[in-house]
């Protein structure tokens, strides 16, 4: 099956949900052609607000709309939210628990050629630091649509991070998305790989390769990284005894850090982190993923190394 655009799915899902729910309003900061909120803008021009290149103002307006009973979706690139408007998200959204849904696209290094100014690799650390936020990094287009629906149906502030790239569909139509619940995509009892976003497909590929070598690698899709599914983490630690995390984000403050906190507190086992360690550079997305080790091959390498550390 061909790869599918998560952001196009986002824009079309919003436009679809907007038909039945007049409270949904959408804001963008002059990127609607890229974030794909343009689909909603075309369908419901009266409920779409392009605020220009002003992310701080966008978040504040969204908070005011939410305080008045609307369900605002505010979109821009992941590098600009929460980076450009962190205090607005903190004081106007998170502290008063406003029902604002921030959905960003172009997360991570696979924005590619635009370079490090546009590669959001700190956004999850920032947003996950805020009490009360629900933070979701969907693994494919199907999960994107389900996460957007869940955000509409669930009161409270959300952050959903999408990539620029089209991704393979890794979930099937029977998949049930539940906020805060990790989902096992491959069984296995030797080691667990926990992945989010674009790293779920390489994690599955790694698990399939390892299986042919006789290594049972459990794969968990950790799409809700806040609140994290601690039960699934403790279970994986107990049953598989070693965990590798995989994410398109800095090692600091993202999935790896969050899993490490849970493991350290509840069930210490060896950990390794497939993540970024510093800023990257311009390049084609696939070149960057290779150069910075966000690959199935690197996950396999990490798994083999961590198996030796298991007690």
């Amino acid at each position: 099956m061909a790869d599918v655009s998560l952001r196009e799915t986002y824009g079309k899902t919003l436009a679809e949900l907007g038909k039945d729910n007049a409270d949904i309003v959408v804001l963008d900061a002059d990127l609607s052609k890229s974030t794909m909120t343009k689909f909603f803008a075309k369908a419901f021009p009266d409920r779409f607000f392009d605020v220009g290149i002003a992310e701080q103002n966008m978040i504040g307006i969204a908070a005011g709309l939410a305080a008045s009973g609307k369900i605002p979706f505010a979109s821009t690139f992941a590098v600009f939210a929460p980076g450009r408007c962190f205090d607005q998200v903190r004081m106007s959204v998170a502290q008063p628990k406003q029902n604002v849904k921030i959905v960003t696209t172009h997360g991570g290094i696979t924005v590619g050629e635009d370079g490090i100014t546009h590669q959001a690799i700190e956004d999850l650390a920032l947003i996950c630091s805020l009490p009360g936020m629900t933070v979701i990094v969907p693994a494919d287009a199907l999960e994107t649509a389900l996460a957007v629906r869940a955000a509409v149906e669930t009161e409270g502030p959300f952050y959903i991070r999408l990539p620029r790239l089209n991704l393979p569909v890794v979930l099937d139509e029977k998949y049930k998305f539940v906020i805060g619940r990790a989902v096992e995509l491959r069984p296995g009892n030797d080691v667990t790989v926990m992945a989010i976003g674009i790293m779920v497909a390489p994690a599955l590929q790694a698990a399939d390769n390892l299986k042919s070598e006789g290594i049972g690698c459990r794969v968990l899709n950790m799409s809700t990284i806040k609140p994290i599914d601690e039960d699934a983490i403790i279970k994986a630690a107990g049953e598989t005894g070693a965990i590798v995390t995989a994410e398109e984000h800095l090692e600091h403050g993202g999935l790896g850090s969050i899993v490490a906190r849970a493991v350290g507190k509840h069930y210490p086992v060896p950990l390794d982190y497939i993540a970024l360690h510093t800023y990257a550079q311009s390049g084609k997305p696939q070149e960057l993923l290779q150069r910075y080790g966000l690959t199935a091959a690197n996950i396999e390498k990490s798994v083999k190394a961590i198996l030796k550390r298991k007690k």
């Binding site: 605020v51 220009g52 504040g60 307006i61 106007s92």
Partner: protein, 275 residues
């Protein structure tokens, strides 16, 4: 609902003096807080809550209420004082300001206190929030009005001007900003720290209908708010010329009283001036 019962200027002056006493008493008791910018806005807020806004202390979520958004969140004691005047909170509760387990946080928190529309404290965010409220009113075909109080020092924040541009772009004639133009910010006089003047042509250039008023004259303020309510097709701003620390001789026009609590002895002197 409580329909607004217009008060005479004389009656409003009695309320304003009582609010000043309550503001200083609660700050002194808390031994921290911001008297200067609370005192400078007393007439603005009194005029709004007593003679201009529709609001209902029995139902702070009444959809038709006019909204007051305090963007300069350090004037929290002023907002608490006017909410106590109307019974949203009790006068007794004012003495809990800034103390542990009190609802009256140092800067306003909307989820804790009935009648507060927005949490504020980090400056520059209230006008954006107010645009969202005004846009929602337009979408819902509601007729209420949004009043947003900013400090002049607060206008240093870039977000204020993002919002100023947007409110004019959206032609929000259901939104009125009020600038407490007391000329002083924490570190000193605006003209020495960061010159924000001339304010009136700045706001006009951003597309706002500008009204200037003596921020301690009830007559001028009430006239200004009536005028602002009649403007069509653009937002209005009332630039209220005020005196920081107004009403207490040793606080007036003195940057030192931006964020300092009066001692019991100083409070006594201030209260005698406000009898």
């Amino acid at each position: 609902m409580t329909p607004v019962q217009p008060q005479s200027v004389k009656e409003l002056e009695v309320v304003a003096r009582r609010m000043r006493r309550n503001i200083l008493t609660m700050i002194s008791r808390a031994n921290s807080g911001h008297p200067g910018g609370s005192l400078s806005s007393v007439e603005i807020v009194t005029a709004l809550y007593f003679n201009i806004m529709k609001h209902n202390p029995a139902d702070c979520t009444w959809p038709e209420r006019d909204r007051f958004v305090l963007s300069k969140g350090h004037a929290a004691p002023l907002l608490y004082a006017v909410l106590a005047e109307w019974g949203y909170i009790s006068v007794e509760e004012l003495s809990t300001l800034r103390q542990i387990d009190s609802r009256l946080q140092g800067h306003t928190e909307c989820r804790l206190v009935p009648g507060i529309e927005m949490s504020a404290g980090a400056l520059g965010q209230g006008l954006s929030f107010s645009i969202g409220v005004a846009l929602a009113a337009r979408l819902n075909n509601e007729k209420h009005h949004v009043y947003t109080l900013l400090g002049d020092g607060e206008c240093d924040e870039g977000q204020v001007w993002e919002a100023a541009m947007a409110a004019a772009h959206y032609k929000l004639d259901n939104l009125t900003a009020i600038i407490d133009n007391n000329g002083i910010q924490l570190d000193g006089r605006n003209r020495d720290i960061m010159n924000i003047e001339p304010l009136a042509p700045k706001w006009a250039a951003f597309g706002w209908y500008v009204i200037e008023a003596d921020g301690h004259s009830f007559k001028e303020l009430i006239d200004a708010f009536h005028k602002a309510g009649q403007i069509k097709g653009q937002p209005a701003v009332v630039i209220a010329h005020t005196v920081k620390g107004k009403g207490v001789s040793f606080m007036e026009n003195n940057p030192d009283w931006h964020g300092k609590a009066p001692t019991p002895e100083e409070l006594g002197r201030a209260l005698r001036e406000l009898e």
